[in-house]
Amino acid sequence: MNLDFSDDQKFLQEEARKFLEKENALLRNRTVLENQSYFDQELWSKIVELGWTGIRVPEEFGGLGLGHLELCVIAEELGRFLAPVPFSSSVYLFTEAVIKYGSEEMKKSLLPKLVSGDIVGTLAVTEDLFAPSKENIALAYDSGKINGKKIAVPDASIATHALVVAKSSDGISLQIADLSDQGVSIEHQENIDESRGHFSIIFNDVKTEGIGDEISGWDIYESIINQAAVLFAYEQIGGSQASLDMAVNYAKERYAFGRPIGSYQAIKHKLADMYIALTLAKSNCYYAAWALSTDSADLPSASATARVSAIKAYQLCSQENIQTHGGNGFTWEYDCHMFYRRSKLLSLNLGSLSNWREKLVTSLEQSNIN
């Protein structure tokens, strides 16, 4: 029985934490947020130099050839420091999709550049003010080209390529588009966490390359987000832990009525509830990490379980961290709001809490839990 990371993986995590701390990632996040610069180029370049973009990429394509568990520990640290980089879009979604579903030729042409940072990927799926589904995708794919519009695409200002969910004549198809194509126009959309820019993209007769077949794209998309959900969940527990730590430290230092506010049970019990939610989420993440790293048949329910509990934990920890800070927590100056914003971004990228609960119950129906 060993539901834990190896010493090497823990070492990697420790190094990642030290690096992000030294690089002042949290302050960089604030700067990006305030300048509306959408991401931090310098931090991203350093992350690329460290090889994190190639953790899961096989050595023959220039990567480190490590497993998903190594990616999980990095994700937790990126989450803890709110690193303003397109890591989730390019690594958890785009690179993983190419590794799992790309043709040999596509891997050869894309993976080395994804590792070196010459290519940055993102996922374009949403089209309107409601959840995307197999039935409502309208962006059209036909004879090697796509036409239509996507919105709320994260990181599109740095991304060179997008994985686009498109409607083909026979179903749903996943297409990779080069965003430097003349038929692409990208526009910034204001959003509630400007430390990660969101954009609309119009595709006008843009040439694409398909991943998988032209019919079962939605199943491939689901499989990609089931995997990514585990990595997002690790970012979420990193952010939850940081929010809880902030709240605990403040509750020890801030005095009211002659004593630390952390000595009041109203505050204690709030913080205990945050710890409980985080512990449940973290334990579910361990199991999901195992399921991901072994490509277990349990992955759909394990990742939905990790995802639902991580969304709930981050939501609770980030909002109650503000509450514990009182008026200070509501100011722009304190960092609380940056976690609050990021918790929302991470919970909506990949789909909402309610829809993941539904995915979980559907997977339970399919596997018949009793």
Partner: protein
């Protein structure tokens, strides 16, 4: 990461399993049995099973050989418990003695006493109970008032204990009492073990909201205890009691009873306005959340086991178990009963309905026993998160001067 036993663990598991297969029948379903030990046959069966285990060395496997154990590691203990739980065997009657009284005796009794009392405790020949809580000392158990007065080489005990599980069939009990109300609260207590057949002890069952009676009130009127049955020094009562309570927190784990699988199975067939309840969005969301809680607890346990398997001390994560499972039990009870609409009021023979009603009636007790939700949140906040204690009105004051209201 993997879920496999190490070679040694696998070997040990096989040894457990081989013995269990020869000596017990595998369980057919996972429904927890409600053992009623007032029933003489059930008590007899429980004692017989315990004796069988004892003779083979499984009863208290982590104890040293001289007291009837095999010196097993924590991991081996977990493996045994895990294997035993797959068999249809009596459970629940010896847990307080073995889980809480045993460790205290092991740490504080004389060698002679250990040789006398521990083997029969492990064998199930003698049953033990724990006499701590009092009518005015629940969460604040150090507020206890039962008196001990020293008289030569004896102590005379007067007072009342409450919430004593199994006192009506116990042979011995561990007892903490106040020997000096002029001292500070935590300093004026002393710890004993007592023969439950002593003159002056009267046991009265408490009827619970479930209708059952697993707890008792225990009255002490001029009960004599020899000084040789004192555990720890005079005035060390609280220190010794804490040892026991730490073990209690390890022992009180999951609140058993109706769980998410039951709610899920039920919702698949239960009619709700002409459709299966499982089609209802609110029902689906609740089931998703309970499944996350249940998995979270299961995986937390696996993390704890991973640490034990490596020979490390587990982190504090297991402290969330009771608070999460007791709350879930209450919610699932509500869910099941409510799904019957007006008919949810009725006691029926339907096993699922009974399960939901038992969960609903029993859950309030689970949220209180072995540390209330509120005390457990305090413990997480203070011991895990390191927050400061509340200012207290009972520190640095003689016990008799502490405000106590009217109760």
């Amino acid at each position: 990461m993997d879920f496999n036993d190490t070679k040694e663990e696998a070997k040990f598991r096989k040894k457990c399993r081989d013995w269990l297969e020869k000596n017990a029948t595998p369980k057919e379903d996972s429904t927890p049995q409600n053992d009623d030990f007032a029933n003489k046959d059930k008590m007899k069966a429980a004692k017989a099973w315990q004796k069988k285990k004892y003779d083979a060395g499984w009863a208290m496997l982590h104890w040293p050989k001289e007291y009837g154990g095999i010196g097993a590691s924590s991991m081996e203990r977990i493996i045994w418990a895990n294997e035993e739980s797959k068999f249809d065997v009596p459970k629940g009657i010896f847990e307080i003695g073995l889980g809480m009284c045993g460790p205290v005796m092991m740490e504080y009794a004389t060698e002679e006493q250990k040789e006398r009392y521990l083997p029969p405790m492990a064998e199930g020949k003698e049953i033990w109970c724990q006499l701590f809580s009092e009518p005015s000392a629940g969460s604040d158990v150090a507020g206890l008032r039962s008196k001990a007065v020293q008289k030569g080489d004896k102590w005379i005990i007067n007072g009342q204990k409450v919430w004593t599980s199994g006192a009506h069939f116990s042979d011995y009990g561990i007892l903490v009492v106040r020997h000096d109300p002029n001292m500070e609260k935590h300093k004026g207590m002393t710890f004993f073990f007592v023969d439950m057949k002593s003159p002056g002890i009267e046991v009265k069952p408490i009827k619970q909201i479930t209708g059952g009676s697993s707890f008792n009130e225990v009255y002490f009127t001029d009960v004599e205890i020899p000084d040789s049955q004192r555990l720890g020094e005079i005035g060390d009562g609280w220190k010794v009691a804490i040892t026991t309570l730490m073990n209690e927190r390890l022992a009180v784990g999951d609140a058993g009873g109706a769980d998410v699988e039951d709610a899920f199975r039920w919702a698949k067939t239960q009619d709700n306005l002409g459709e299966p309840l499982l089609n209802n969005k609110a029902a689906r969301e609740s089931i998703a959340d309970w499944y996350c809680e249940k998995s979270g607890l299961k995986n937390t346990k696996l993390r704890t086991m991973s640490a034990l398997s490596r020979g490390d001390t587990p982190g504090p994560e297991a402290s969330i178990t009771k608070i999460v499972s007791a709350g879930k039990l209450q919610n699932i009870g509500n869910f099941g009963i409510d799904s019957l609409d007006m008919a949810g009021m009725l006691r029926t023979d339907n096993a699922d309905v009974k399960g939901f009603q038992n969960a609903w009636l029993g859950a309030p007790g689970m949220r209180i026993a072995g540390g209330t939700d509120e005390i457990l949140r305090n413990i997480i906040a203070e011991r895990v998160l390191g927050l400061p204690q509340d200012p207290r009105a009972d520190k640095g004051v003689a016990f008799k001067d502490i405000p106590s209201g009217n109760s």
